[in-house]
């Protein structure tokens, strides 16, 4: 059950250039939230109407808190970055279908989690869940340069591999380059591997190609401009291979059937 409520800011900090973290007291939303889901964050300013969809980075179910890590890209995220402990933020959530849809289990114990840029935060809760479930977690993170974030958090959950655009840290190149160079997925272990990825579309296309080439199932998390956040407006759709059960056309709603999809169902 989605909730629309004000959430108190427990703590807020800057993690890197333009990257911020906020922990919210969100009660039931935090208790229900699953990895891969997101919340809608509303501006206090009545001239900025639409919610900002922000992925859930981490939760503490007992404390009822939710951690969001986001990049400041415009008015709404800038406003959010100025909030301090004790301030309130209007949110709606938890929204969407997350990684609970992953059908594969112990037969694919090598879990390769790929995050690019602001697609990195949602991988944290998933890394935590999958490492607790006993899987071999490899997180592959793509950054522009040495201005990294969340590394200390990811180190708690398995192996961490890094790729940077400028080569200042880790592999010089993309996350797919890192997977090849560091032999994370090879023809020897591909039959035991499973991919989860979030990041910019060119990265996701690269990941989809790799998955196809190695025969590895891949689930990806998509981002799109949204208006309602509840599946009514049909603003955020992705083209699908088959006719969708709900829309009866080749479109799925990112906010409802997604944001996490099995890559084989999509036309990227």
């Amino acid at each position: 059950m989605k909730q629309y409520r004000d959430a108190e800011v427990i703590s807020a900090e800057q993690l890197a250039e333009g990257i911020y973290s906020v922990v919210l007291q969100a009660g039931e939303i935090a208790a229900q939230a699953l990895s891969g889901q997101f919340v809608c964050v509303y501006s206090d300013d009545k001239a900025h109407l639409l919610p900002r969809p922000i992925s859930i980075c981490d939760t503490d179910r007992e404390a009822g808190t939710l951690r969001l890590v986001y990049r400041v890209v415009g008015f709404g995220t800038d406003e959010l970055s100025r909030k301090k402990a004790g301030d309130y933020v209007r949110i709606l959530g938890p929204i969407g279908t997350g990684y609970e849809q992953v059908a594969e289990g112990a037969e694919r114990p090598v879990r390769v989690l790929i995050g690019g840029g602001i697609g990195i935060p949602p991988m944290l809760l998933l890394a935590k869940e999958w490492s607790e479930a006993g899987y071999e977690v490899h997180t592959v993170l793509g950054f522009r340069n040495r201005d990294t974030f969340l590394l200390h958090d990811f180190w708690k959950y398995g192996y961490v591999h890094i790729a940077t655009d400028d080569g200042s840290v880790g592999v010089h190149g993309t996350v797919v380059d890192a997977i090849r160079e560091e032999k994370i997925i090879t023809s020897d272990n591909a039959f035991t591997a499973l991919i989860a990825a979030c990041g910019p579309m060119p990265m996701l296309r690269g990941v989809a190609n790799l998955a196809k080439e190695q025969g590895v199932p891949a689930y990806i998390s998509l981002e799109e401009r949204m208006a309602c956040g509840v599946g009514a407006c049909l603003g955020c759709i992705v083209k699908t291979r088959d006719v969708d059960e709900h829309s009866h056309v080749h479109n799925k709603r990112i906010c409802t059937e997604g944001p996490v999809f099995n890559v084989k169902d999509l036309m990227l």
């Binding site: 309602c228 955020c236 056309v249």
Partner: protein, 300 residues
């Protein structure tokens, strides 16, 4: 206190409806709103066959509003009648089915197939692109409006509301054309065509380049048009355009609307429609208004 109004022969328990395209068929918002509290639900536009809609990005925020170019994606009338209509029938609210089409024939077919459905009212979206005439919206030509109105009225069993586009020189001319064609009511305004450019990507914010502007930014234009149309036609008006609170809804009633539709505001607050119903009641209590009909068109 009486909050019920009569829209084209149909009694609504209160004058608050949802605006087409912003509320699906009510299912998604029923988690936040008691649909029984609303005067009616206006469904997302439905056509005889499924429509794929436009590429993304389909929406963009603007100051005080938003642009959309969804492209009238819909699952087609068969699915609508099997899935969405039975859902809406479970509630004590009026069902207003919004109809779209690419041609006069498509409108007529959809309306004919809805004739024996539980729909209480039909709203005809004439801002759809006319495929035969290069995609120009039907609703920008008075003769075409009169012709389509006449054609759908011939087969309709429910009262017909013609939804007017504001993207015209004189909207009263369009309202009169609908009235001459036999429309039972008019609804206005549909969105105002706009554009936004993403200066970082050096391209259009919407894949469709242009989109329909909605939200509080367009409210004064909508109130003015409702007022002007109310002075010219004798059929009732369903008013809309940027309504975000009870005070906004009351402005439309005073300008001459018999009922109102709330659209973009749902995206900012999923509970807003019910809050507007409650807000109108409290305005009436505070101002000792016994019957909401006293407010309709009270500003001349």
């Amino acid at each position: 206190m009486n909050t019920s109004v009569n829209l084209a022969g149909v009694t609504l328990k209160n004058p608050v409806l949802t605006a087409s395209g912003t509320f699906g068929s009510g299912m998604e918002y029923s988690e936040f709103v008691d649909l029984n509290r609303l005067g009616g639900v206006v469904t997302k536009g439905v056509a005889v066959t499924p429509w794929e809609g436009n590429p993304t990005p389909r929406v963009a925020e603007t100051t005080g509003g938003m642009l959309n170019a969804i492209g009238l994606q819909n699952p087609g009338l068969d699915v609508f009648l099997q899935r969405d209509m039975p859902f809406l029938q479970k509630f004590d609210t009026r069902i207003v089915v919004n109809v779209c089409g690419h041609s006069e024939e498509e409108y007529v077919e959809a309306v004919a197939r809805l004739a024996d459905s539980p729909a209480d009212l039909l709203e005809i979206n004439i801002s759809c692109p006319n495929v035969k005439e290069g995609g120009i919206a039907f609703g920008t030509n008075a003769a075409k409006i009169e012709e389509i109105t006449r054609a759908v009225k011939r087969v309709a069993k429910q009262p017909v509301i013609m939804k007017l586009s504001p993207n015209v020189t004189d909207i009263t001319e369009m309202a009169l054309a609908a009235q001459n064609g036999g429309a039972d009511a008019v609804s206005l305004i549909n969105t105002i065509t706009g554009m936004k450019i993403d200066i970082n990507r050096r391209t259009f914010a919407l894949a469709n380049k242009t989109g329909g502007l909605s939200g509080p930014a367009i409210k004064p234009v909508a109130v003015r048009m409702v007022y002007q149309v109310a002075q010219k036609v004798s059929i009732p008006i369903l008013g809309m355009g940027g309504i975000a609170c009870a005070e906004d809804a009351i402005e439309f009633l005073m300008a001459g609307a018999t009922a109102v539709s709330v659209g973009t505001a749902n995206f900012h607050n999923p509970r807003v429609t019910e809050e507007i119903v409650a807000g109108i009641e409290s305005y009436m209590t505070r101002n000792r208004v016994e019957d909401i009909n006293e407010l309709i068109g009270c500003v001349k």
